[in-house]
């Protein structure tokens, strides 16, 4: 038999905050007339110790099994009152909050008796809800103390090392034959100008020597299923299938460089290269002799093809301009070649199709004099360098100093407007940048041996596939989207999956390392604790009503529903966040939400309207 409902109502004066505008004694009086209410009282301050004691005492004395506090807002005070209920042996889900301050006395200060009437309505709604409440337990779910990190660039390596150093085994899955990611393409690095290979080496060594890291090269993630603490993963490790269970996943799959097809002569002229291609030329010491060079910024970014600013390119262009101005001998090809670039192609990042495009381009290359040898300039001295830009974003102190240094070295910064960008063509076998000089108000030409296009980092073509596999979202620009840009910058909304590095959007190495360490320490929390507490507010499927249409599975933002063996929907309690989206969508009305059930919400609505139909 169901136990009797015994409700206690505590109406707060909140000093004069409520009591000054709402007739509290009359609300208390009214509460006593409502069904199931055994006890009602007013408190000067319910949240003060004597107020809390009055709740504790009344629960014991009057055997209350529901408690209602009519006072301020649950957003700040619910945990306090729920705690008191629990102290007195009452499950905290049997507590109801009624807001008569923020939603009543404070916004109806001049309404007199109407505010009191409204407070009564609100208490009546609370009583209707309280009658239907049920106790709830929060389930504990064990966490498999292992992690999976996807992507072996800087971010993935740092995250994996950090988790491994907490003492947990980590699978580090990298699709290429080596760890290192995009940095392997680079020559030297801002800030500090350190050689990229040198910077990378100790980080790779830390990975290879770490016994807790299970190194999976030439590997891919083939399947992921489950939820926080219990992800079943299937890996393809160099052709061999490996299956295991991990507790958390960190995504660090990086970004690609945008290929500026059709822009600024990239398809037509060999000597027009991207920033990355330029770095590779320098790194391999295959840069031809040049006497003049132009960088063009924001190619394909900031509203051009992609909407965003890629953050790093201004600083990377300045870095490379300084390399030419200060360190030309060191990046110059040893074989004293002329000014035609034998393009090398982006190391391991260039997908096949880029290589293919490049081959095609070579076929139809405009040869009018393109092969003509230029006069060999005096190395290092007097190389003309210009950076065509919309504006230079050298954020932060050190980058600003680099920018100033570049100016001192006579690097020219020439502004262009997106409405009238420079044009690139050849004249007498030489590349020309034809541009509008806004200060001089003149159309001008610059003869150059080489043009470097600063194109943005873009989300790789594989991102949508990974997004589907892990059921994590991509933002408008195609990068992975965190749960909250400021408050949860390395979490996904799905518990137990984290993201760091350029997979999330353009970032430099320093920022990637921050993010990777942040993601690793977030991921280590459930691993170290060993369990997670599941939400008590979850969807509940009525298997008898469900037709197995699958609509709910599609709408759930957390992948918290699946079909069970009987072909009907089933809630994965550990993954469900209790939003209720599924319930409102189910065409059969087969899904309810615990603690915010259809009947509870309808009872509230009905109580609200009780006076409406007389």
């Amino acid at each position: 038999m169901k136990e009797d409902i015994r409700i206690g109502v505590f109406v707060c004066h909140c000093g004069t905050n409520i009591g000054g505008f709402v007739d509290v004694p009359s609300v208390v009086e009214y509460s006593r007339t409502l069904p199931g209410v055994i006890y009602a009282t007013g408190n000067l301050y319910t949240c003060a110790e004597d107020g809390l004691a009055s709740i504790r005492d009344a629960i014991k004395e009057h055997h209350l099994n529901r408690v209602i506090v009519a006072s301020c807002t649950p957003r700040t005070h619910a945990p306090l009152f729920q705690g008191v209920c629990e102290e007195a042996g009452l499950n905290k889900y049997l507590f109801t909050f009624v807001n008569i301050r923020e939603h009543c006395s404070w916004v109806h200060m001049k309404e007199g008796p109407k505010a009191t009437e409204k407070a009564k309505d609100l208490v009546r709604m609370g009583v209707a809800r309280a009658q239907l409440l049920e106790p709830k337990e929060e389930a504990r779910i064990d966490v498999e103390p292992k992690a999976l990190v996807i992507g072996g660039g800087i971010s993935g390596m740092v995250a994996a090392t950090s988790i491994a150093n907490h003492g947990f085994p980590v699978y580090l899955v990298e699709k290429e034959a080596d760890f290192g990611g995009f940095v392997r393409n680079l020559n030297n690095l801002y800030l500090g100008g350190k050689d990229a290979t040198e910077m990378l080496k100790p980080i790779v060594d830390q990975v290879t020597s770490n016994k807790n890291i299970i190194k999976c090269l030439k590997s891919k993630v083939a399947g992921v299923d489950g939820f926080i603490g219990n992800y079943q993963v299937a890996l393809d490790v160099d052709g061999k299938e490996v299956k295991d269970k991990v507790g958390v996943i960190v995504l660090a799959t990086g970004a690609d460089e945008y290929v500026p097809e059709g822009l600024f002569g990239y398809d037509l002229y060999e000597n027009v290269v991207t920033l990355t291609e330029f770095e590779i030329l320098c790194k391999r010491k295959t840069l031809p002799k040049i006497s003049s060079i132009a960088f063009i910024q924001c190619v394909g970014s900031r509203g051009h093809v992609k909407s965003y600013c890629s953050r790093i390119c201004c600083n990377v262009a300045i870095k490379n301009a300084l390399n030419i101005a200060e360190n030309y001998q060191n990046i110059l090809g040893k074989d004293e070649r002329g000014a035609v670039v034998e393009k090398v192609g982006v190391d391991m990042k260039a997908p096949e199709e880029i290589a293919e495009r490049r081959r095609r381009r070579r076929g139809r290359r405009d040869r009018e004099g393109g092969e003509e040898e230029a006069e060999a300039p005096a190395p290092s001295e007097g190389i003309e360098i210009a950076i065509f830009n919309r504006d230079i974003m050298s954020y932060g102190l050190e980058h600003e100093l680099n920018y100033n240094k570049a100016r001192e070295k006579h690097v020219r910064f020439v502004r262009y407007s997106p409405a009238n960008p420079p044009k690139v063509y050849t004249e007498n076998g030489k590349l020309v940048v034809d541009y509008w000089h806004d200060t001089l108000k003149l159309q001008r030409k610059m003869n150059v041996d080489m043009i470097v296009l600063s194109t943005p980092l873009v989300s790789p073509p594989s991102a949508p596939g990974i997004s589907k596999l892990l059921k994590v979202p991509l933002g408008q620009d195609g990068f992975f989207l965190e749960a909250h840009v400021k408050l949860r910058p390395v979490d996904f909304a799905t518990d137990g999956i984290f993201v760091c590095g350029t997979a999330k959007g353009p970032a430099d190495i320093t920022e990637c390392v921050f993010q990777a360490q942040a993601a690793a320490s977030r991921a280590a929390i459930p691993l170290a604790r060993g369990y997670v507490q599941a939400e008590a507010l979850t969807a509940i499927v009525d298997a008898d009503i469900c037709t197995g249409c699958g609509t709910c599975i599609e709408v759930c933002p957390y992948g918290a529903l699946r079909k069970n063996m009987d072909g009907v929907a089933e809630v994965i309690v550990a993954a469900c966040k209790g939003c209720g989206c599924c319930g409102a969508t189910c065409p059969e009305g087969a899904i309810d939400l615990s603690h915010y059930t259809d009947s509870q919400l309808l009872a509230e609505a009905k109580a609200a309207l009780q006076e409406a139909i007389q």
Binding site: E102, V107, G580, A584, Y596, A605
Partner: protein, 152 residues
Amino acid sequence: MMATNAEKLVDESTASEEWDPKIIVFCCNWCSYAGADLAGVSRLQMPTDFLVIRTMCSARVDPEFVLRAFAKGADGVLVAGCHPADCHYIGGNYRTRRRIAILRVLLEQYGFDPDRLRLEWISASEGEKFQKTIREFTERIKEIGPNPLKED
């Protein structure tokens, strides 16, 4: 303001001065409920005719709740949720938006003024928007008049 026939009949019959509408406001916990709280903290005054029901997300508001509320005599229903892209549960509010649009069409077909149902994005920092919305909506509902079902 295209009052339907059913509405007009009621309009003419109940022209009482002292009529206080009943308005149900579904607020999602994360943005709009907090926005309503902020209106309170800021002491922004507004008419008393609305009663807030808290749901976790605006997407929890089953179309059935809205229809039942009207059937029980609500004069207006306001659904308030987080701004697009701000929903605590990723994209719940996009579903809400679609549902409310369809519901409004449905209401009209049943002879209800669709303006009785309103959707508004109110963030946790928009106390003033909450106040403005409540004021305008109450005003509009008073113009439309009582829920015709109340007379049955």
